[in-house]
């Protein structure tokens, strides 16, 4: 790297040979106005507003600082009359085109322009090309381009149609110096369900995330859409960003496995009468949890979609639980988390809280006390399943509110309760991929999809597959203390297995009597564990009992009565048959 000496407005400095002049000026703190320049894209040099005067070997010329490569010994003057005259006229020309752009008017002010000599045009685009270049060079979407030539030149999309290649990244609007480009609401939606979706493509999943590091969201990252961008990589000084990283499949040899794949919340839209997805201010408990989280998107405030604070909030229990239409079982945790949210929401917003419940199930240490505490807090509890949530106002006090219609089974009357926000306490259900996991581990599932333990009382964390254990909500709805306890048990079982270092084989393996085997090899391919091999010398099949898991399929197939299974010999089973049939 070759260093050269440059003088800017009398300030002497050193810079790498052929660095763009504007960078050097910035370094020494000399401000040069720019319009078509942006650090993320190559210099374009069309607005000419960054024109400066360069003296080199007695030669004086005007150059544009954004793309002029400095060479040794040049002297730069950024405020000479000639320079100012040039910039002034350029601004006047620009105003003749875009007369009402605030930025241009401010700049014009700096050059003493009050009334431009060519009048003021109504356009807002100065054709600086930043949007075009960002779209192609940075984003890689290549949606924007220049059309026509000369005075009729304009920026647009192919055929002036909305382009399906546009990924609504908003970069063009971001860089547009005149505010000519804006992103409309429709495009906002594409950025994910606000306010709870990821705000940017790079974020730290949760404040509790382990490891506590930012991740790149594959679906929203521009690079994975267009293979371009990589802006993050260019600005990251630590050079920590590697878009090349791929998901890896790793095979790990283990002695035992604990399956704790958890649950998924019931989709609140399965209970349409509560209006989730239809009314903006109907939230699921998880969304509100996210909201009240101090590190969440709302910094812990409880806000309605329009940003205001709710005055009344209704919490509906048993959404997707204890319901023939969804799940008949009780999800066990909803009552308590509903109480917690009731407490927090009241605390954060001071709103009046209504709980709609079927039964309060506050079994657990300190739980009932918490329930009583809330009663004292003035939180209202209404027993009865909510019929519907609607925005249909019948009285003035119901206008612009969400009305919760419910039969109060204690008061014995149907009530209409207007609230600003509705929280749905959704139940727990088995993950949708539970069945795949079950097959993978050769386990069984209950009809609801929860993994089945070997025995409800005698082997609560074991499964039918040796060495595979289950813990947590994957086995059934339960709260955190129960989960932790069960997890401990499962871990202990797993440890025990590893500790002994050896496994006991079940005694019901099969065997083959060589004298009887004719070597027909029917049995060989039947064995899923390849415990049977054909002995080429003796021309008979031989069985390795260490590998045999004792299914007995080979025994049933052996036409020579050569294969038999301990505890399940033909004779024994025949005897059983006779046994069960004696009168």
């Amino acid at each position: 790297m070759k260093l050269v000496t440059v003088t800017i407005d009398g300030i002497k400095t050193e810079a790498e040979d052929r660095t763009p002049l504007v960078q050097v000026a910035q370094k020494v703190g000399v401000k040069i106005p720019t319009l078509c320049h942006h650090p993320l894209v190559e210099p374009y040099g069309v607005c000419r507003i960054c024109t400066v005067e360069v003296h080199m070997r007695g030669r004086v010329r005007l150059v544009t600082a954004c793309n002029y490569p400095v060479t040794n010994g040049i002297e730069v003057f950024t405020q000479t009359d000639r320079v100012r005259r040039t910039r002034k006229l350029i601004l006047e020309w620009l105003l003749a085109r875009c007369g009402h752009v605030p930025l241009l008017n401010t700049m014009a002010g700096e050059y003493g322009i009050t009334e431009p000599r060519f009048g003021r045009g109504d356009d807002t685009c100065i054709l600086c090309g930043l949007c075009v270049r960002v779209c192609s060079d940075v984003v890689g979407a290549n949606v924007l381009g220049f059309f026509n030539r000369g005075t009729t030149r304009y920026v647009g999309t192919p055929y002036d149609e909305p382009s399906d290649k546009c990924i609504a990244c908003g970069a063009c609007a971001e860089v547009c110096p005149t505010g000519c480009i804006t992103i409309d609401d429709e495009a906002e939606q594409i950025r994910g369900e606000l306010p709870l979706g990821p705000m940017t493509a790079i974020y730290i999943p949760t404040m509790q995330a382990v490891p506590h590091q930012p991740v790149i969201d594959y679906d929203s990252c521009i690079h994975f859409k267009t293979d371009a961008c990589r802006v993050c990589a260019t600005v990251c000084e630590a050079k920590a960003i590697d878009h090349g990283q791929q998901d890896r499949h790793e095979e790990i040899q283990v002695g035992s496995i604990v399956v704790a794949t958890g649950f998924q919340p019931v989709d609140a839209q399965k209970v349409p009468q509560y209006g989730y997805g239809r009314y903006p201010n109907v939230f699921t408990a998880l969304q509100v949890e996210h909201m009240v989280n101090a590190s969440g998107p709302n910094n812990g405030q409880v806000l309605l979609k329009d940003g205001s604070t709710p005055k009344a909030v209704g919490i509906i229990h048993c959404v997707g639980s204890r319901d023939k239409n969804t799940h008949e079982y009780c999800s066990r945790v909803c009552c308590m988390y509903s109480l917690k949210l009731a407490h927090l929401v009241h605390e954060r917003s001071g709103a009046k809280i209504y709980n709609f419940y079927i039964d309060m199930r506050s079994a657990g240490k300190g739980y009932e006390e918490f329930y009583n505490h809330l009663l004292e807090e003035g939180c209202e509890f209404i027993r009865g399943r909510v019929a519907e949530v609607s925005d249909w106002a019948v009285t003035p006090m119901e206008t612009d509110k969400l009305v919760i219609r419910v039969e109060d089974t204690l008061a014995g009357l149907v009530r209409r309760i207007p609230v600003d926000m509705v929280v749905l306490s959704t139940g727990l259900e088995a993950r949708e991929d539970a069945d795949d996991v079950r097959r993978m581990f050769n386990m069984s599932c209950s009809s609801e999809g929860w993994f089945l333990e070997r025995h409800p009382k005698l082997a609560p964390v074991s499964t039918f597959t040796d060495g595979v254990f289950i813990a947590g909500c994957a086995q059934g709805p339960k709260d955190i203390p129960d989960t932790v306890a069960q997890a401990g048990a499962a871990a202990a079982e797993a440890m025990a297995l590893i500790d002994t270092g050896q496994v006991e084989l079940e005694a019901y393996t099969a065997w083959i009597t060589e004298e009887r085997c004719s070597g027909c090899q029917i049995c060989v391919p039947l064995c899923p564990f390849s415990a049977i091999e054909f002995n080429k010398e003796k021309k008979v099949s031989t069985l390795n009992e260490a590998l045999c898991k004792g299914c007995g399929t080979c025994v049933a197939a052996c036409p020579s009565h050569a294969a038999q299974q301990h505890h399940f010999t033909d004779a024994q089973i025949m005897a059983e048959i006779e046994g069960v049939l004696v009168r």
């Binding site: 069984s444 019901y508 564990f529 299914c551 007995g552 049933a556 399940f568 059983e576 048959i577 049939l581």
Partner: protein, 144 residues
């Protein structure tokens, strides 16, 4: 064993021999028990580790010994504890069925059912249903 307690009444009570896979149907019937699901006592269960162990000879033997029906319970396809045992069962069963028809055994007398460990209610249902069918069908061993 349950069968011994069948009262010898004049009314015909079918006798079913049930072969259940240890990992699914057998557990399911256990579950049915823990769930206190009552069902007909006509089907004493013979446990095998896998429905794949069930030799067609057993079915014939049962019929020869005077059973009026045979019920085989295995894991749903794809769920076999031994990966593929139940498929082998299925193949044998389909072929066996053809032979039984030639021997004059009514279709309802020999059944193959896939019942997972969680389907206790299904065990109840199947056994009750089958018992009813056999009651109407009459005894097998009395056939000429």
């Amino acid at each position: 064993m349950a069968t011994t307690t069948i009262p010898v009444t004049t009314a015909f009570e079918p006798r079913i021999v049930a072969f259940f896979c240890n990992w699914c149907t057998y557990t399911a019937s256990d579950l049915a028990g823990t769930a206190r699901l009552a069902y007909e006592p006509n089907a004493p269960v013979i446990r095998v580790m896998c429905s794949g162990r069930i030799d067609p000879q057993f079915v014939l033997k049962a019929l020869q010994e005077g059973a009026d029906g045979v019920l085989i319970g295995g894991c749903h396809p794809g769920d076999c504890h031994y990966q593929e045992g139940n498929y082998k069962t299925l193949r044998r069963f389909r072929l066996l069925k053809r032979i039984l028809t030639q021997f004059g055994v009514d279709d309802a007398r020999v059944r193959l059912e896939w019942i997972s460990a969680s389907e206790g209610d299904r065990v109840q249902h199947v056994i009750n249903e089958m018992t009813d069918q056999l009651r109407t069908l009459g005894p097998w061993h009395a056939r000429n």
